[in-house]
Symmetry: C2
Subunit: 617 residues, 2 copies
């Protein structure tokens, strides 16, 4: 029987009517496969939002809110007709709260932003080596000794689940095992070190009741059991485990992991849940009920789908890789050239963006996830054919500040942290300029540099923790170099480039002056020197190009050396536009040979010679 409900809002005389026409309630709590479609029509007389379910109406309301434009005389809606539905049913954001704890309000504001971006799975990475973050009432030492006091009570978890459900978002809890379980062992050390041939069995003495407790706490039909990155070293060196394997006839660590996964799967099923695991759980004989999350990327995803498993893609959606949004945006779980048959494609349920917690704090986590997550959310929701990067960035620029009104701090946290590092409510102009032109390095380069420090105790308050990635100023340099390369009169883009280089050229002196006496800022002084060098070299290049004048003999080599220096991870502040800058140097060096070949030949030569080898391999 139809439970249609019609809600009429704002019914005042003369004002347009707002009708929400929702055919049925839908699932009690959000579930995989919910009907999220809606249609929206705005006319001067009426706003009509139609959906089959409440969650569909929620998606439509988010669209409606994004259409509202404030003006001096009030809020305005454009007249539109929209029919909309998601491409993939599983559109997730994974947040690791183990390596650095994130308070509930951080999660709530990110869930609000997920709802704005129409994502529907919050994957809560609750346990890892660095912390067991959820209260167990059965084994209280799990959080009591494995979290430094930073954990969520069961009441807080229930509240968050309800909060997410109100926004049409599932909460998928992850209890990562058998690797990444150091935090479990702190309170219950015999899990890890007890003698005797049944060590692995003993794990289940705690895993089983814990899983039962968590299965009751989290209403989603799925539980994520991790299963990733167990390197097996401890297994190989543990005589008890070797004895166990021998007794059970288990030939290798991979087989032992499979044995473990099967046991965990049985547990998960026993408690009425389906299982999700990372790539490693996928071994011959694994039940087709298990959903496999691929951190290994498209090839592993495709293979899983071919083998009939339901798959979700998470690579290249790792935020700590510090990729630009464009790269995320163009990475399609089922690209146009997919090797999968239509039937196999149905096994690709969608994907999840991943925020790992090594170097994120409540201060900067928003800026690591957003606005780039907008690109990923759109990739999961919209058709394959919606893939114009420039148009994406145009819309990102509009929606991104709206997300701060939802509560995110992804834009404002940058200045907040720069102020804190400066120890001053005012940011010196030279510091502001540096911050505009640099980005953080990807996680593994930071880890390489600071390998001597214990991760969780790093003070994450430096400029590298403050600055955002995929910065507009860097993208504009790239776009302007591209314009210049494609303009036969060598003019397009040059005025904007000149203004950027003029801003950078004096930075060695002005930044050093601003940073004097402040070690937080002073650490970046060599980077400011690099930026100033680039600014001056850029002005030289523009001048040679404008004058159509050959560069001095060693000019190009000098500039390439300078670019190489700027490419070192000085102060852990990355200059993301060096490839474009290198191209500009080649344009300048080759300018005078432009008339000696066809424009296409010349352009091809510039591109070929200026592209670093790593991109051509």
């Amino acid at each position: 029987m139809e439970q249609r409900s019609q809600l009429v809002l704002f019914k005042t005389s003369g004002a347009p009517t707002f009708i929400v026409d929702c055919k049925s309630k839908g699932s009690d709590i959000p579930q995989l496969g919910d009907d999220e479609s809606y249609s929206l029509e705005v006319t001067p007389q009426e706003i009509t939002l139609k959906s089959n379910t409440v969650v569909g109406a929620i998606r439509g309301l988010e669209t409606l809110v994004q259409l509202v434009t404030p003006t001096q005389n009030g809020y305005v809606l454009p007249a539109v007709t929209i029919k909309d539905q998601p491409r993939f049913p599983w559109r997730g954001l994974h947040i690791d709260v183990s390596r650095h704890f994130q308070p509930i309000e951080v999660l709530k504001r990110n869930i609000d932003a997920m709802a704005a971006a129409k994502m529907n799975v919050f994957h809560w990475h609750l346990t890892d080596d660095q912390g067991f973050r959820i209260e167990s009432k059965i084994f209280p030492k799990l959080q009591g000794m494995g979290s430094d006091g930073l954990f969520y009570t069961q009441d807080e978890a229930k509240d968050l689940i309800a909060y997410a459900a109100d926004r049409g978002i599932r909460v998928l809890p992850e209890f990562d095992m058998p690797g990444h379980t150091t935090a479990w062992m702190v309170g219950y050390p015999d899990l890890a070190s007890a003698p005797g041939p049944y060590e692995i069995e003993r794990h289940f003495g705690i895993f089983d009741p814990t899983m039962g407790e968590m299965a009751k706490l989290f209403p989603d039909e799925y539980i994520h059991i991790g299963g990733d990155e167990n390197n097996g070293k401890q297994w190989s060196s543990n005589p008890a485990i070797q004895a166990f394997m021998k007794k059970k006839g288990i030939a290798s660590n991979v087989d032992l992991q499979t044995y473990f996964s099967q046991r965990v799967l049985a547990l998960v099923n026993k408690h009425g849940k389906k299982m999700v695991g990372w790539d490693e759980v996928l071994a011959p004989g694994l039940s087709k009920d298990v959903v496999v999350q691929s951190w290994r990327g498209a090839t592993a995803l495709d293979q899983g789908a071919k083998d009939g498993y339901n798959m979700i893609l998470s690579q290249p959606y790792y935020f700590d890789a510090m990729f630009p949004a464009s790269r995320h945006y163009l990475a399609d779980p089922v690209p146009a050239n997919t090797p999968l048959t239509p039937e196999q494609q149905k096994h690709v349920l969608g994907g999840e963006a991943c925020m790992w917690g090594e170097v994120v704090t409540p201060q900067n986590i928003d800026s690591r996830i957003w606005p780039r997550n907008l690109a990923i959310a759109e990739r999961f929701w919209s058709p394959q054919s919606v893939n114009d990067v420039n148009d994406y960035y145009r819309r990102e620029n509009i929606v991104s500040p709206q997300l701060e009104l939802v509560g995110l701090k992804h834009l404002s946290s940058v200045d907040g942290m720069v102020r804190a590092a400066s120890g001053s409510a005012e940011i010196a102009p030279a510091v502001a300029t540096l911050v505009k032109y640099v980005e953080p390095y990807m996680l593994w380069i930071r880890e390489r540099d600071r390998s001597k420090s214990p991760t969780q105790l790093w003070s994450l308050t430096s400029l590298e923790d403050a600055v955002n990635t995929d910065q507009p100023a860097g993208r504009e340099i790239a776009a302007n170099v591209d314009r210049l390369l494609n303009d036969p009169s060598f003019n397009a883009g040059s005025a904007d480039l000149q203004s950027a280089f003029n801003e950078l050229a004096p930075l060695d002196k002005t930044y050093a002056a601003a940073a004097a006496g402040n070690p937080n800022l002073d650490k970046a002084t060599p980077r400011a020197q690099d930026l100033a060098n680039l600014g001056r070299a850029g002005l030289e290049a523009l001048n040679f190009i404008k004058q159509n004048q050959p560069v001095p003999q060693t000019w190009l080599a000098d500039k390439l050396a300078l670019i190489d220096r700027a490419n070192q991870p000085t102060a852990m502040l990355r200059i993301a536009w060096l490839d474009s800058f290198r191209r500009l140097a080649y344009i300048a060096a080759y300018r005078s040979s432009y008339s000696t070949m066809t424009p296409d030949q010349w352009k091809a030569k510039v591109i070929a010679d200026s592209t670093p080898k790593r991109d051509r391999e």
Copy 2:
């Protein structure tokens, strides 16, 4: 018996020991008169924090945190010896959540900042004409119909009270009556309009049980019953009330208010509480138990103290007046020239800063309270003799960004709201310049301008809602004009002024270009024109001064006319440095007469002629 507890932290070999030596627990929850004193000693070997109570230790810990300086190689503490205690026992922040509701997280982050500033009373203005914001279980229509659904549950209130208590902060609830009670009447209209001679008595049919309910909910020994700004008009025009007054022999509305206050006081006492009220409750015969909060200012405060009442000062600590921090800082509840005897001075318990809610939202409330509340908090805590404004600002500049790490958004909200108004993640440089040099007007000027709009439905998303008051750029202009005036060679400050004016001079064109097509920004285009005019006039003035050249005949009159135009509330964006700019114009105009009199005479003439009349009246 002494319950001394000694806590030793960070005891790792080689590292300094941290000893918290706390003599006794102190009050179960924070109370008026708690011992908040502490001493702190930091040496290379040891940190020792000593206090008589836990709340004293909390105050000392806040000092310790503020001493921590992050450096490239870790956190550093200076070696210090501090003995500290508050000057006044009542150091409050009043937040009106009735006119605009503020979610719990907004209150919590402000309570965190209060703790950082060592304030100890959170005055929660829960009811007013525009909303009844606390759940009553006895009369649920109070919040049910009087809050648009925006109210705190009793559980949330309990949680907030505990949160504040953990930080040594009392929670003082206010139920404002008999004026400001429109919100009560929405659910229970017969309170306001029932016929018959006992209307006022009928109020108590709801006030009494509500007061009882709230007295149980809020553990503080005080309840604030408001009592302010009842204009008596409705009483005068209500025949039932007139009949009641005649019957009781009450001669005037003032007497009726006194009658009402006495009845409410009896109620408050009956429920085991002491009463706080605004100035109006102070009438002959009022019990000396009542604490009177003075919004009328120092004269009323002094009179109350002379009459033996315990008083707290709230004027001039109204944030919506948009006074600079310096004015708050220098306003002392018991100034050096106080007319009070030492015995009478004891009746001044302290003061409260007031954040009224007419034009504040969760987005901008932090920037309205902070950093200026630091000045007020220090005035209430520190000795009278600590009153160097420049040193206050030096320290404000350091502590203010630290408060953002505590969770406040007072600095970052500005750019966040400017981005939202711009509809872009990037703020155009011309918009950033405008924002740097303008401030919001005080509330009553805004209300005059927008008197036709219903207050609670104003969209508070304009630049005037974004920009902060007491801006450093304006203060720097003032300081530099002062330097110039006092330099016989007419050079000091002029380079900085020139750089500011150079920034402003092109603003008419650049701002108009940035604002084109965006009504939110375009509204401020005439103000950008004013700023550009001032910038160009400033450059002219500096040039005349430098060249020691007489200004053209109508130059000064022209500039004064220009300053008058800039003094209009265009776009509701105030130029706070016009008095200094006027002084600069006079310096330029009088420069050539410098040699005709003594320097002191000349300076006196500049000051006399350039000071606007309102300051000399």
